[in-house]
Symmetry: C2
DNA sequence: ATTTATTGTCTCACTTTGTGACAATATTAA
DNA sequence: TTAATATTGTCACAAAGTGAGACAATAAAT
């Protein structure tokens, strides 16, 4: 997200209310930004260094948004519990919050400069996601209800940032017995039609 | 730890000061309880449900320890960032904090009943440790500087709670090239003396 | 000198993984 | 109608990894 009238970019985030579950706060924040419910979310790290906080930046942001009078607490040091979500790009309607002028997708290799330690947060998210990819589920939420093996392979290749061997990938995924195979679609392309799969079980 | 004049058992923990790094706070707490510095520590989850907090219990504990007047904040809901450490049992001098009457080791299969969600915290710690055992390091801090392959295998078997095949274990560990082999010790036992290893590299 | 327990290593079978090959097939081109 | 093209599902084979037992080596006790 980009804050109003600044050059500050940041990951979307929020605060946990005194009487609110941490996970609930995260889901509410996600819903506000994306409109999505029931999304796969994983907490991966809690960032708690004092040095990660820069009150000057926070002050600048708040001043553009009407001053800091009522919200003195926002100028104090805070600790951030970070989550990543797996979201289907196309399902999302991105909505900035009150103090931001935009909320957008950015390619990993084309990120704007981010405030605080948000770049590091992204690195850690990606590392955790890659490490979990083998054990945990797969393209849930990232794919439509029905998808081809190639679609799924592309998800894996995007996350791992490497090419996978087609035959081995198919063999491995099918051996997990997590996918249900459906009727073929006639895709309209000039080749054999692929099976469709879903995550049902 | 067991709190003074109660039947409440809890994991050791502490609070993060306003101007203190999260990781520093954890290391200080660990040092206070164990006397140990420079220990392998891994953050594994942040517990933030409102329901995990039971003010009645906290009140009881504080009343036995001189009332709650000055420490009203301790009766409010809090969020816990959980870490596990790998520690050599023998290096430790356990020291309870001011409000506890004991700080002790308990076998996993002989735990006292714990307050709040501390049982769940242990489960999650163990699950994370087991999952990381393959990828991450191994018995650092859990073993003396020099140890035998059998010592190391026992650490793995304790953590995983299963027997491992001796030959396969040795082959796998050695193939990691993380151990330095030293001179044999003459152990005094009635059999071939084992090599000694260290984690140096 | 013999026995006993444990170690270091090897071999064999079995499983998993990487790689290319093949036929099948939906569409386009000839 | 036939041939060409691209991609799919599957298999075969080699390479690598894993589980299990076997065997000689050896430190101490008998």
């Amino acid at each position: 997200m980009k804050y109003h009238n600044t050059d500050f970019y940041a990951l979307p985030g929020g605060f946990v209310r005194l009487n609110e579950d941490l996970n609930t706060a995260v889901r509410i924040g996600l819903k506000e930004r994306t409109g999505l419910d029931n999304i796969f979310l994983e907490q991966f790290y809690t960032f708690g260094n004092v040095s990660r906080f820069k009150p000057e930046i926070m002050k600048q942001i708040m001043e553009v948004n009407g001053g800091v009078n009522e919200n003195v607490w926002i100028l104090e040091r805070f600790i951030s519990v970070a989550y990543y979500a797996l979201i289907n790009y196309d399902d999302v309607e991105l909505t900035p919050d009150a103090i931001s002028e935009s909320c957008d997708w950015y390619d990993l290799d084309n990120l704007p400069e981010l405030i605080f330690d948000h770049k590091e947060i992204i690195s850690k998210a990606l590392a955790t996601l890659r490490a979990n990819l083998e054990t945990k589920l797969m393209g849930v939420n990232l794919l439509p209800p029905m998808f081809t093996m190639k679609d799924l392979q592309k998800v894996y290749e995007a996350i791992l940032d490497e090419k996978l061997h087609r035959g081995a990938f198919q063999r491995k995924i099918l051996s997990m017995n997590l996918l249900k195979r459906h009727e073929k679609q006639f895709s309209g392309a000039a080749h054999k039609a692929p099976f469709l799969y879903s995550f049902e079980r």
